[in-house]
Amino acid sequence: MDSETKRLVHIAIAWCGPVFVIGFLVFWAILGHNVPPPNMMGMTSAQLVAEYYGKYQSEIAVGMIGSATMGLFYTPWSLLLATMLRDEDGSLGVLALIEAAGGILTGWLLAFCPAIWAACALLATSVSPDLIKAIHVMTWIIFDCTYMITTIQLLALGAYIVLNKKQAIFPAWTGWCAIAIGITFVPLVLMPFVTEGPFAVNGMWNFFFIFSIWLFAFQIPIGYFMLKEAMGHKRVARQILSHAN
């Protein structure tokens, strides 16, 4: 592949990040009626079916199937990010590999869980509410409580940026932000055990705060610098500077 083609491929993959954010917001959050999600731990099975799956059946089904598609845009974006976390000798070190692994697993989860919720929506009126609630709750516990797959991605990315003084793609503050955001996911461990308050599935912290900062405070700045690098502006500037020196 010649360098110009490679550059175009990288730019296209860098745009997978914004596509993921917008697509997931439209399909999962809006069509899926997840702003916020129903407070499953504080609802009976009948309430969950009557007030959520039964009430918005077709929208949720379409939204979740769409989410299963859009979710996987996260993976190529994360892998492109990994290629930008190279060691001085050009190899992908362990931090880049951890970031890549986290991106692959997170992308899988963002597709896998919506597919199950789509099934819940499509079957809401034909199987017992207890079964729907059981599958719904189980899927949310998988979705939330495997947060470590994203936390390790963020911690590895942050560690690379902060510790690698010679890298020039990402400013240091983005690394510190990534580390902080990864750690804010930890209270998700409380989600299965509380029926109300900030750490419930629809709580101020465990839903609104962490999803907002992950989508906006992580994806946007990192995505911006990735796009700049993919477009080659900084690389050209570095080459010019190194020739001048």
């Binding site: 902060v162 240091a172 503050w173 510190w176 932000c177 580390i179 902080a180 750690i183 804010t184 209270p187 409380l190 055990f193 509380v194 109300e196 308050g197 900030p198 750490f199 101020m204 912290w205 705060f209």
Partner: protein, 201 residues
């Protein structure tokens, strides 16, 4: 080494005419501060929705645990300031003494916190009890992790003092640790009134 006194009346070695600490740690601490600001905002928003519950739950907190921890951390911060100034003067024994005192006070904070948690849990109060206690445990445990991290950094600096005193790198490192420790103190300065005092009958 030329010694000067700045407008604060602090004796500083010429090498510390540079700003204290490093940009990276100022950045990290600031981002951590933003996270805690979000926690405080979340807490106040929930408090708005469940005023009576929060007021009643707050009464079950013993404010004297919080007071003791505030005084402990303020004193520990003072000890770290003295340690940093001693490091700038290359006074290794004073550095070790003040860092040792700071660390012991950190330990006192930890003991006080454990006793408070133990009494709460024994009384049946857990993070799942209600929204107020979810926040109480969450905020104080996250802060407590910061205290533990700070104690680790202080111990590391104290252990390295004899070997590395006199180098600018050591002084900068200690300034960074001080920055982090004072941040831990500042957090508790707000956490104490937020959880224990504001709105208390």
């Amino acid at each position: 080494m030329k010694r000067t006194q700045d407008h604060l009346g602090l004796t500083t070695a010429a090498q510390s005419s540079r700003p204290p600490g490093t940009d990276g740690v100022w950045t990290f601490v600031f981002i951590d501060m933003i996270i805690f600001l979000m926690m405080f905002l979340s807490f106040m928003t929930e408090r708005l929705r469940h005023g009576a519950l929060y007021a009643a739950s707050q009464l079950r907190l013993n404010e004297f645990f919080g007071l003791a921890n505030t005084l402990i951390l303020l004193t520990s911060s003072w000890m770290v300031v003295e340690a940093v100034q001693a490091a700038r003067r290359n006074e290794v024994r004073r550095v070790r003494r003040f860092l040792g005192l700071a660390w012991m006070l950190g330990l006192a904070f930890a003991v006080d916190k454990f006793v408070e948690y133990y009494l709460k849990i024994r009384a049946g109060v857990t993070p799942a009890t209600n929204s107020f206690y979810s926040f109480y445990f969450f905020i104080t445990i996250v802060h407590f992790f910061h205290v533990i991290a700070g104690m680790f950094f202080i111990a590391y600096c104290r252990g390295n003092a004899r070997l590395r005193i006199g180098s600018e790198r050591y002084v900068t490192g200690l300034e960074n640790v001080g920055l982090f420790w004072h941040f831990v103190d500042v957090l508790w300065i707000f956490i104490f009134p937020l959880l224990y005092l504001v709105g208390r009958r």
